[in-house]
């Protein structure tokens, strides 16, 4: 399958990608997740053969692709906005790339029919793409991408330009389409929800480096750095100083906070930042880290409330099933096993 080894490239004299290593296994969907400018699309371009890296190699089934031109790599692409041709109907949009490749009409016909069958648009071949719904357009773009029978599919921010409601709907459809094909997929996005929904494995990128790789739940629940925690939106952060490693305790402005454990890389007295995921806070008066808290606001989020409380000057958010009135005093417990601790401030 695909192996990317020690890829590096500069842009305008500055490193754009540094020591990028990963692989994509058979049937696997991996997601390159990171903010804009982190180098995600450049990785796709290098894999596709459109950009030559300064260093590093791309292998397919063990073979070095360096000398293989893009059109011989048999990789498929799908883009933001889908880039469908409005002057062509559904069938012709899917057929277009096959004809450019010089395939004869019988093969074009059978491949297009097969691709439209997979995306369940076989009956809409004659329909103008202009008249299609967003979901149907996405399926045409997907059919077009798989019609040449690619060995690897690369999707570059396919949903980035859509409004939230449509994005959620199409995300679900796309997830199903990807599950129905056995083509390995590299999916690029800056949106963590998309990444978590689509990926078997996430590669988190920042400033051209892969910071973390793993299954979505692991990457989300154990961000490898404070930057990663920030990226995932963990805004509950408290500065502290390590009181002791065993038991693991940190002195903070809200009081002493107990953790499940502190690794031996930390030393007593060291400055640390505690990150408290909203899901780590219970409204409870039992536990290792019980604090009285004053409610500042409750914000309705559809299926729950995000409640912001204040503990001795520190603001902390938590999730609650019901709204709590501002000004009320409640007791919260911070679950030690869900706390995250990072060195430095």
């Amino acid at each position: 399958m695909l192996k990317v080894q020690k890829i590096a490239i500069d842009y305008d004299g500055r490193p754009l990608l540094t020591d990028v290593n990963f692989h994509v296994g058979k049937d696997e969907t991996i997601c390159l997740l990171g903010p804009s400018g982190s180098g995600k699309s450049t990785i796709l371009r290098i894999i596709g053969g459109l950009v030559k890296p300064k260093a590093g190699r791309v292998y397919w089934n063990g073979a070095d692709l360096a000398s293989l031109p893009p059109h011989k790599r048999s990789f498929g692409f799908m883009f933001q906005d889908y880039a469908l041709f409005p002057h062509l109907n559904v069938f012709e949009n899917v057929a277009f790339g096959l004809r450019v490749r010089g395939l004869g009409q019988p093969e074009v016909q059978s491949r297009v029919e097969e691709a439209l069958e997979i995306v369940q648009l076989a009956s809409l071949g004659e329909r103008s793409v202009v008249d299609l719904s967003g979901g149907e357009k996405q399926r045409v773009a997907f059919a077009r991408a798989i019609a040449p029978d690619p060995v690897l599919l690369m999707l570059d921010e396919p949903l980035a330009s859509l409004d939230r409601a449509l994005r959620e709907q199409l995300l679900e459809e796309l997830h199903q389409l990807l599950a129905e094909t056995d083509i390995p997929v590299i999916y690029v996005t800056h949106d963590q929800e998309e990444a978590f929904s689509i990926a078997d494995r996430i590669l988190l990128l920042n400033e051209g480096r892969i910071l973390q790789a793993g299954p979505p739940d692991q990457v989300y629940n154990q961000p490898v750095s404070l930057w990663a925690a920030d990226f995932f939106g963990f805004t509950n952060q408290i500065q502290g100083k390590i009181e002791s490693l065993k038991p693991a305790r940190v002195i903070t402005d809200i009081g002493i906070v107990a953790l499940e454990e502190l690794y031996s890389i930390y030393k007593a007295g060291a400055d640390v930042t505690l990150v408290i995921p909203p899901g780590a806070v219970d409204i409870s008066n039992a536990g290792s880290n019980v604090f009285p808290a004053q409610v500042l606001e409750s914000v309705f989020q559809g299926n729950r409330y995000r409640v912001t409380v204040k503990i001795k000057g520190e603001k902390i958010s938590l999730f609650a099933e019901e709204a709590i009135l501002p000004g009320e005093t409640i007791t919260i417990n911070i679950v030690p096993s869900k706390l995250l601790c990072y060195g430095g401030k």
Binding site: R45, G48, G49, L50, P69, P70, H71, R73, S74, F75, G76, F77, F79, Q80, D81, A83, L84, F85, P86, H87, L88, E92, A95, F96, G97, L98, R99, V100, R101, G102, R144, A145, P148, P150, D156
Partner: protein, 157 residues
């Protein structure tokens, strides 16, 4: 902006005005109007007044003209020149045409044109190699496996 087409020796053979739609690190997008008499060309009739949306990708060995009929505005095809990378000097965009062309029809069928002329030119090995790579890249763009720039182009219609 003036668009100047040179031959492979860098000698001017044609020039015409174009309106800049956008310019970026990706390249230049220009709009020009076909100002010659109607011209049948490899199965397509170029008509006086047809709109040419011209994409000059930075550093690439080709350009792409997306041709719209002057009346119906429908796409007649994509005419692609294999060239040395374009240069811009003030208000002039200039390129050296290496004769080799790719014509892509609206249904996706494609034809490589003027291969004999290309072969007959006295070109350096580097020019020949890059021209052939440019042609491969063009086919790749249109076939969909790597159409990053084309995707941008299509969106600008």
């Amino acid at each position: 902006m003036r668009i100047v087409k040179n031959n492979h020796r860098g000698e001017k053979v044609w020039e015409y005005p174009g309106e800049v739609i956008s310019k970026s690190k990706t390249g230049y997008f220009l709009r020009a109007i076909f100002n010659r008499d109607d011209l049948p060309f490899n199965g397509v009739l170029f008509r006086q007044g047809d709109e040419f949306l011209e994409f000059y990708p930075a550093g690439k060995w080709f350009n792409i003209y997306q041709i719209h009929d002057c009346d119906s505005k429908k796409i007649k095809g994509w005419y692609c020149n294999i060239t040395r990378p374009f240069r811009v000097n003030g208000e002039t965009l200039e390129y050296d045409d290496l004769a080799l062309d790719l014509m892509v029809y609206p249904d996706g069928s494609a034809k490589v044109l003027d291969e004999d002329e290309f072969e007959s030119h006295n070109l350096s090995e580097e020019d020949r190699r890059m021209a052939k790579e440019g042609l491969l890249e063009l086919k790749n763009l249109f076939s969909g496996s790597g159409g990053f720039e084309l995707s941008e182009f299509v969106k600008r219609r």
